[in-house]
Homo-oligomer: 479 residues x 2
């Protein structure tokens, strides 16, 4: 009675449909792959005895050694078993498990028809050519060690370029050795206050005063790290820094001085001074979130609070609004005494920020391309803002946009109680945007106005007009 | 009596040393900057009254309006105060704080004279030209949305290229929708188990079985997240997976099947099967750390355990050994049921992995440049390994290198008790490398051999010979 493999020798060869390339290594890899696939797909069932080397080799016109190596490979991987006297068989456990589909709803939702979400720059304006040219210069000039494990403080080329730029453009007072590169604002917050889960190993301890309106994501991150946040009221002069002195045990305050997010006012110079004075008197820190400080349309941007006292202010910035959130780079400008402890938390090797992006950004800054890009997008966003205000004046003159002419978003104040309906009407139009109430601190006590936060940068140029028209249709009629 | 500013008007102008460029905006920015620096550096003392607009404007030959805007800017920033009737003065709190130097010892130590540390590829072999060409193709072809907020699962271009590559080269069985991109192995571990100071809250619960030798950094990370690790003994067949069944409540095991790190053996096929069987029987998971699976010098690489059961194995890989740790990209191939929870932990937007690097890597993989690079460095590291073994044979024939011909490191077994002296002798020669004992789990119970872990990839070609000679000098003489 013939062994089962005698029948299967030709079948195996035929089933493999294997096109063996030239060269021994390539042939063996192709044969291994073909056998593995045949087992996976069940064409070679568990327990099947494989033909001896010489039969399959003859059938496929390859060396016996090639087949022997392929079998050995698959034995090592666990697909085949080889036992003295019993030949080589498909392993029992190699039965292909039932393919389990990935559950639906786990992937990102599709883009909305109209996009006026805050927090996003115009992706279409990314300066591809200039960025690639900077990458070419930077990667060509980089020393070899740039491709090894990274300095967790960040590439010195980038920190040097940032120190120059931030001093010139934002009035930040720093040297490269006070800068720590990270992957964005949220990463910086995690380095300072610890991450969610487990013992908070950040550098600072809570509680932390925050503005009564801000990104829920940032509050959630802090709360997840066990940090209590205390909301400060906001009036026409910005966050009420006078409230700081009344909070027991407070050691830090997180502010958006250039352009309060999202309500849109600047922090008054007296308040800026008051925050720094409070930090000096209470051994505290001001965290300055300068998320869109470069974008002011009516005047030169107001410089950073950090310049008032570099030992009491942590300055935080990133590329997310000014260039692209696709490049995961941010920076902290730290008081001298915090540099060591932040680096200790960050670890011995850079685990987050791409050295290639860092080197490219360093060149992009130093060569003036960053300034050029900011100037160009500043004009673009100013036009978008003007277009929004003109549309409101024409179609909804009763709706007021508040805040200064700055940034990538505007807040439209709505009649009391109309925000939920406006959001429903927007969704009905396929228009994505946020209501003002979503940004309110749950423990805030001041007035809770209705409003819409309109991001005028997220859409591409060609889609922006339609998005603004959809917005006007979603606004409440004059009451 | 003249006002103090009457004297200071010319002095302010002269002190500013300001070269005002053409164009109103540029002039105003330059004047603002110059005034700010003068205040910072103490040249304009707190309380000093500034000259009226017209005086300074005349002195500097600029429009009054330019001076007025510069003053307003500095008032907003808090450097100046403007009060009705009292003019514009340098703010009291603008006194420059004493510059505090960043403490020493907070920056990365310099590179050693000779570098045989494990875990680092040869930075000099980074394929700059091919990478830049891939970046150019990828960024030119990318849709605009690639420059907006990122999909936390990773770019579909990269996941598609990875699914093809990992299937072909590593026997991984996956589709793009089971892959989640991250910034490296440690990030993956944080996403799975949470991490102190890290980005996540983890989806799995401990305890976790680990090999009794491994990277202390990984154990520390797990312990920091509150995960207890249980060491498995290691023998000539690799980690002793038979021990898994004896640990109560165990739900996971972390293995380096292709090439045990650092001891250097492969996991026997029976053990591979046993680990998967254990996971099936105990509703557990095998975490497969495939850190250097592409680098095998004596045969085709053994495929991934993941191929045996994609629903019970999490496959983990990164670029750190195969291309460069400077590009912060890694990947997890997940069982279908884990994709949703890992993405939930990762958040709504990609906060870590650079989209530009992701797009470039996708092209680099799909165009065959990654295979080409691996082939080229495989040959290079094989030569380095041969050179090391030849040097040992010539100069220290009593010292044996253990483990398979694979990876980026070898383990030299030393006579019992000689490891500390060998490390001291190495340090004395300016040679950086690790002792084997540093990798031992603190609760391991098996034999604790003395040894040196020699990374033969970290040095550049021209420096490698000298590093090996330094190593030979540091080895104990035949006893």
């Amino acid at each position: 009675m013939p062994e089962p493999w005698v029948n299967s020798a030709e079948r195996v060869g035929a089933d493999l449909h294997v096109h063996l390339p030239e060269g021994k290594g390539g042939r063996q890899a192709a044969l291994t792959h073909a056998l593995r696939e045949a087992i996976r797909e069940g064409r070679l069932a568990p327990g099947t005895r494989l033909p001896p080397y010489r039969s399959l080799a003859a059938d496929l016109s390859v060396a016996r050694n090639t087949v022997a190596s392929a079998y050995a490979e698959l034995v090592a991987e666990g697909w085949l078993t080889a036992r003295q006297g019993s030949g080589t068989r498909v392993a029992a456990r190699a039965a292909p498990p039932r393919p389990v589909p990935v559950p639906h709803g786990t992937t990102t939702p599709p883009r909305p028809a109209h996009d006026l979400r805050q927090g996003m720059p115009d992706a279409a304006s990314f300066p591809r050519t200039a960025w690639l040219a900077a990458a070419r210069r930077a990667l060509t000039a980089a020393p070899n060690e740039a491709f090894g494990p990274g300095d967790p403080q960040g590439r010195i080329e980038l920190r040097t370029a940032l120190a120059e730029y931030l001093s010139r453009a934002r009035g930040v007072r720093t040297t490269p050795d006070r800068i720590v590169v990270c992957s964005g604002f949220a990463h910086a917050l995690r380095l300072l206050y610890g991450g969610a889960g487990g013992p908070s190993r950040g550098v600072l301890r809570g509680p932390l005063a925050v503005e009564s309106y801000g990104l829920p994501f940032h509050r959630d991150l802090l709360h997840g790290a066990g940090v209590r946040t205390v909301p400060l009221g906001i009036d026409e002069d910005g966050a009420d820094t006078a409230e700081l002195a009344g909070v027991r045990g407070l050691k830090g305050v997180l502010l958006t001085p250039a352009h309060q997010f999202p309500t849109g006012g600047p922090l008054h110079s007296a308040r800026r001074a008051q925050a720094v004075d409070w930090a000096r008197a209470h051994d505290g820190l001001v965290l300055e979130d300068d998320y869109d400080g470069e974008f002011r349309y009516d005047r030169e941007p107001v410089g950073a609070v950090q310049g008032l006292d570099p030992e009491r202010v942590v300055y935080l910035g990133s590329l997310s609004k000014s260039l692209s959130p696709a490049i995961r780079l941010g920076w902290m400008v730290l008081p001298a005494h915090l540099v060591g402890s932040v680096l200790a938390v960050k670890g011995q090797r850079e685990a987050w920020a791409s050295a290639l992006d860092q080197l490219t950004l360093a060149d992009f800054l130093a060569s003036g391309h960053y300034d050029r890009h900011v100037r160009r997008t500043r004009q673009r966003y100013r036009d978008r803002r003007d277009q929004l205000l003109a549309a409101l004046a024409a179609h909804a003159p009763h709706i007021r946009a508040t805040g200064i002419a700055a940034g990538l978003h505007a807040v439209l104040r709505l009649p009391s109680g109309t925000e939920p309906d406006a959001l429903r009407a927007a969704a009905h139009q396929g228009l994505a945007l946020d209501g003002l109430t979503a940004f309110r601190h749950p423990e805030a006590t001041g007035p809770a106005p209705d409003g819409l936060v309109v991001g005028y940068a997220a859409s591409a140029d060609h889609a922006y007009g339609a998005a603004v028209r959809a917005l006007c249709r979603a606004l409440p009629a004059e009451g």
